[in-house]
Symmetry: C2
Subunit: 284 residues, 2 copies
């Protein structure tokens, strides 16, 4: 994808803290088939440990040598967190794609296991994203390069068609919906929360907005989906976004769920994605 | 700033993992006079420890109960990291502003101590930001709220006039420049790096762009300045942005400096800001 990367002597993946000269990248990463990601470093570590236990595969130490991201490997599955928002995610994706390119890994799929605010769905529902919608309310990932808006802004759709995630969720008795995912650029005003430091709109504006996007097919709001869908599409890798909702924004703005329930909700995208990966890799 | 926050029974600061009901916020935070921030959690912890040692003030444990940010307190100075990019920063700023509001803290100043890519300046130079420039190359922080671009996009200037940071840097023998800071939305294409996974422009396009922004007065590029300047301005708090450059983008794209030099570079914004805070608080 980038002719300037051909035959380079070194490539240091700054936000992972290692490069071609410090790690034997093909040896360590050539067998990767799935990259699983999500915002929180602790959650991604937990997912890697759960997956390791469930599939009887060793879990590596944290392979990232920088504090910007964590990275764990369980056999052919890599677990990397991406922080919050599209800028942070874009850095992780670019460096992960470069890593897999240097490793000669083939047919890798990317899955985002996130948390989100539900729009008209019950807390704990796992939303399987059909497409991403940006803050302008269209299906593009907006990039500015060299002072110009990229003329054909990036399309966003790149999703895994097989196996059917909805059927798999039903089989596992995980509450599931599919729909559009709105990608906001902030947690408060960009999602029309009433509990931020700034608030120049009214309660009725918030509900008008939520109803409007619900009618367009939006079922949850998070902060990474357009970039994730667009970059994976552009790189030619299959991807999926599977987020649990922590609240129904039609009923409130604050996330206040007891710790035990939070862990059980966090587990739901993991259970679904693990079932998908096991099927894909033929693990029983 | 937000009438919906008046007389609330509880306010849970989700990304700090505590709220009015779980922590005595006025008792813990009423004395805060400075919030120092930057992207990396490890660096902010290090800064807090250095400051504690230098000023003989106790350093708290990590006060954040969430893994999204870290928070340390050394007397009247709070150290919180903000992750990478404006979306992540906006969450931290909103919750820090709410925290200080609930604490009844007065006259608090915010300082970002960051790392950045230099534009025509030597690596290790500390750039004191005079104003922030967005990826559209104007001095606004662009927000989309309720599907609409905020009509009067936010101004960005809110900087500390006193004491003069440049004079202070000269006094401390820290290499310093002042100038515009460009805020990009990603690390690779948004900054026209040639070493990303994607690259649809040429070497000459990159240098044309860097020359163009240098002529406009840009001396460094990072990923948070517009949001930081704009939100602090809007909240009515004084602020400053002080970033060290890790490379000169006119000469390359990869950050490759030996660990010892990296630590010494990281120390420069800290030394400058510590001198400022000590002057301000009357600490010898």
């Amino acid at each position: 994808m980038n002719k300037y990367l051909e035959n380079v002597d070194d490539d240091f993946l700054y936000h992972f803290g290692f490069g071609l000269k410090t790690v034997d990248i093909p040896k360590t990463f050539a067998d990767v088939k799935f990259v699983c990601t999500g915002g929180s470093p602790t959650r991604l570590k937990l997912y890697a440990e759960w997956f390791s236990k469930e599939c009887k595969l060793d879990c590596s130490d944290n392979l990232s040598k920088s504090d910007r991201f964590v990275m764990y490997k369980t056999g052919p599955v890599l677990w990397i967190n991406h922080g919050m928002g599209t800028p942070s995610l874009s850095i992780m994706l670019v460096e992960a794609l470069k890593l897999l390119h240097h490793a000669n890994a083939k047919d890798v799929k990317f899955i985002r296991l996130g948390t989100s605010g539900g729009v008209g769905v019950e807390p704990g529902t796992v939303v399987v994203t059909t497409n991403a919608m940006n803050a302008e309310l269209n299906d593009k990932y907006v990039q500015w390069i060299g002072g110009k808006k990229v003329p054909k802004t990036r399309p966003t759709l790149s999703f895994l068609p097989f196996p059917n995630l909805i059927a798999l969720a039903n089989e596992k008795k995980i509450p599931v919906e599919s729909g559009l995912t709105m990608c906001a650029d902030d947690f408060y005003e960009g999602q029309m929360r009433l509990d931020g430091f700034f608030c120049e709109y009214k309660t009725e504006d918030k509900f008008d907005f939520l109803k409007r996007i619900h009618e367009k097919g939006v079922r949850n709001i998070e902060m990474e989906s357009t970039c994730f869908a667009s970059m994976t599409f552009r790189a030619g890798v299959k991807a999926a976004i599977v987020c649990v909702t922590l609240l129904n924004r039609m009923k409130g703005d604050q996330v206040k769920i007891p710790h035990d329930q939070y862990i059980e909700f966090e587990e739901r995208p993991f259970r679904l994605v693990t079932a998908l990966i096991k099927k894909y890799l033929g693990i029983n």
